[in-house]
């Protein structure tokens, strides 16, 4: 990381610390949702943006994390232990689901994950004795951290912020390690990567399982945040929403999913004054963005920067030759 980047990160963090001060409950709550979904989208970005695999089960993995945490904390287990189990469960489920699914990859993986998400929804709805069925689970306590309660929305926001920073730090560590380089290589040219000794199936599986674990972590946070969970919160539509966050923000960019989550969560609030037209405007904006900048908002930012301050021009003329 350069000094400039460190400065920007410090400023960003200071902004996030200062942002909720003096805001109403609803805004603080919405910002907390943004933090939670950012963690989940960060995980999906690893699967999609770095390893190049489409997963439609990210909300499902959030559901796994949320229900595990809910059941454990309701049974009196401390949140931190429940969160640890949630993350591990999602990781292992990711491995189990990905192992057969990644033999086929790409759109087949999309179908397998779609089926998983649907199946999970049915299990959560039908296993009433454990999950409470359609009524869901209520009354999960908010965690105490070092004796400090997080019952107010503001204190829970700061708790979520700490979790967010930890998650981002872990992701940053992974991406700067040789694993991160291997994930990028998988996306750009898997055949070449394999010829250089990279075991592509294992590495892709790891990306998928780690991405799923981030989903589980986000779910573990969502449980004490909302204090009410039910199957519809983790239905397929939410997996698509997470996919949208990653793509709109800029898949394959570190800050892409955070920006995307902000847009997807905040834009409906901003567009509320348009009433019935909101969805039409929203859809049009997304289509326009995808047409003009497949790299999402961060990709669009890079395009503008390159136009204002041209550096080396990418050899677009040769792009066809890169793939075998």
């Amino acid at each position: 990381m350069t000094r400039l980047q460190m400065l920007f990160c410090a400023l960003g963090l200071a902004g996030l610390i200062a942002a909720p001060l003096g805001q109403g409950n609803y805004i603080v709550y919405t910002m907390t949702s943004w933090l939670v979904f950012s963690i989940s989208a960060m995980g999906l970005n690893l699967t999609l943006g770095y390893a190049g695999q489409v997963s439609l089960a990210q909300a499902g993995f959030m559901g796994v994390g949320a229900y595990v945490t809910a059941l454990m904390t309701l049974a009196g287990v401390p949140w931190i232990a429940a969160a640890f189990v949630s993350i591990s469960t999602s990781f292992v489920l990711g491995l189990l689901l990905g192992y057969p699914a990644l033999r086929v990859q790409h759109h087949f993986l999309a179908f397998v994950t779609l089926a998983f998400n649907t199946l999970l929804f049915l299990v959560l709805r039908n296993e009433e004795e454990i999950t409470g069925g359609s009524f869901g689970l209520v009354g999960m306590p908010r965690p105490n951290v070092l004796g400090l309660a997080t019952d107010s929305n503001l204190s829970f926001y700061y708790f979520a912020l700490v979790c967010f920073v930890v998650a981002a730090g872990v992701m940053w560590w992974i991406l700067r390690s040789p694993w991160g380089r291997a994930f990028k290589a998988l996306r750009e040219n898997p055949i070449r990567a394999e010829s250089l000794g990279l075991k592509i199936r294992r590495q892709t599986l790891l990306a998928f399982a780690i991405g799923s674990a981030f989903g589980g972590f986000a779910g573990a946070l969502q449980t004490p945040q909302v204090q009410f969970i039910e199957p519809h919160s983790f239905a397929l539509i939410h997996s698509l929403k997470l996919l949208l966050m990653v793509v709109v923000g800029g898949s394959g960019f570190f800050f892409g999913p955070m920006l995307g989550a902000a847009v997807v969560i905040l834009l409906p609030e901003v567009l509320r004054f348009t009433e019935g037209y909101y969805l039409i405007i929203y859809a049009t904006l997304v289509i326009l963005l995808m047409v003009y900048s497949p790299g999402g908002l961060i990709g669009a930012g890079h395009k503008i920067r390159d136009r204002l301050m041209p550096r080396t021009e990418a050899r677009r003329d040769m792009e066809k030759g890169f793939q075998l």
Partner: protein
């Protein structure tokens, strides 16, 4: 160039055949490549060179026959494990990672050969390979482009990056698939000179598929000519050049 001293073969291909439907693309081909040799595989289009290459490299499963690298069978070995056995390769098409820097491209080419999967997560971000990668980049005179995204380089420069990647893990043998294709003359002379120097300094064995006769004749120590899936001639470049069968295969096609 002096003739190599015969020793145990680095690559040994035995009775290899590959059939696609009714077509025998490779028919009962056997040959050995010894340490330090630069073997050229030539032949007209459709003679089976690329199919043979792909069978050796585990991209295709041969119909019959097998292949050994330094005495170890490669039957059913995946390309990744072949790389770990000491086989490097370049591709006919451009095969760099366009959105990664030249340095990252070359480090990636070596990192899977270092440590374990866990040390690659918790250890140094460059797997301790930055110096080695820089040396190799310097060897191919690419140092000015160290931090440039590989996709922004010219075609010839990308071919050099591809070659550097093939050498990064210190392979016993490198298979080069049309290294001269689409490369201009100045860059070609540079590439050839670097390959010969690398061969001399490290004793690495090369097998080269190539259409550019001038390039093959001046680079290789021995040449095998394929036509319609079979070996029709084998020998030193000057003998191959004068062989009527070879002239016939190329001109009489």
């Amino acid at each position: 160039m002096t003739a190599p001293i015969p020793s145990a073969p680095v690559l040994s291909v035995r009775a290899m055949s590959k059939q696609f439907g009714g077509i025998r693309a490779v028919n009962n081909v056997s040959f050995d490549v010894h340490k330090g040799e630069i073997l050229g595989l030539i032949g007209p289009n459709g003679s089976g060179k690329s199919t043979l290459f792909n069978c050796i490299l585990g991209q295709l499963r041969p119909t019959s026959g097998h292949c050994e690298i330094a005495g170890r069978s490669t039957d059913g070995v995946r390309p990744a494990d072949l790389s770990l056995m000491g086989v490097g390769r370049t591709f006919q098409q451009l095969s760099v990672f366009p959105r990664m820097t030249v340095l990252d491209n070359v480090i990636l080419a070596g990192q899977e050969h270092e440590g374990t999967i866990l040390t690659r997560l918790f250890g140094r971000p460059d797997a301790g390979l930055t110096d080695k990668a820089k040396q190799l980049i310097e060897f191919f005179r690419l140092t000015p482009y160290l931090q440039t995204e590989a996709g922004a380089l010219s075609y010839g420069q990308q071919k050099l990056v591809d070659a550097a990647m093939a050498f990064m893990a210190g392979p016993q043998i490198v298979l080069l698939d049309e290294p001269a294709g689409g490369v201009n003359l100045t860059m070609l002379a540079h590439l050839k000179e670097r390959l010969v120097t690398y061969n001399r300094e490290h004793g690495t064995t090369f097998v080269v598929i190539e259409h550019n006769m001038e390039f093959v004749m001046s680079l290789c120590t021995r040449i095998i000519v394929l036509a319609q899936g079979e070996i029709i001639a084998e020998g030193r470049p000057e003998d191959i050049r004068a062989n009527p069968l070879v002239i016939d295969a190329y001109l009489g096609g």
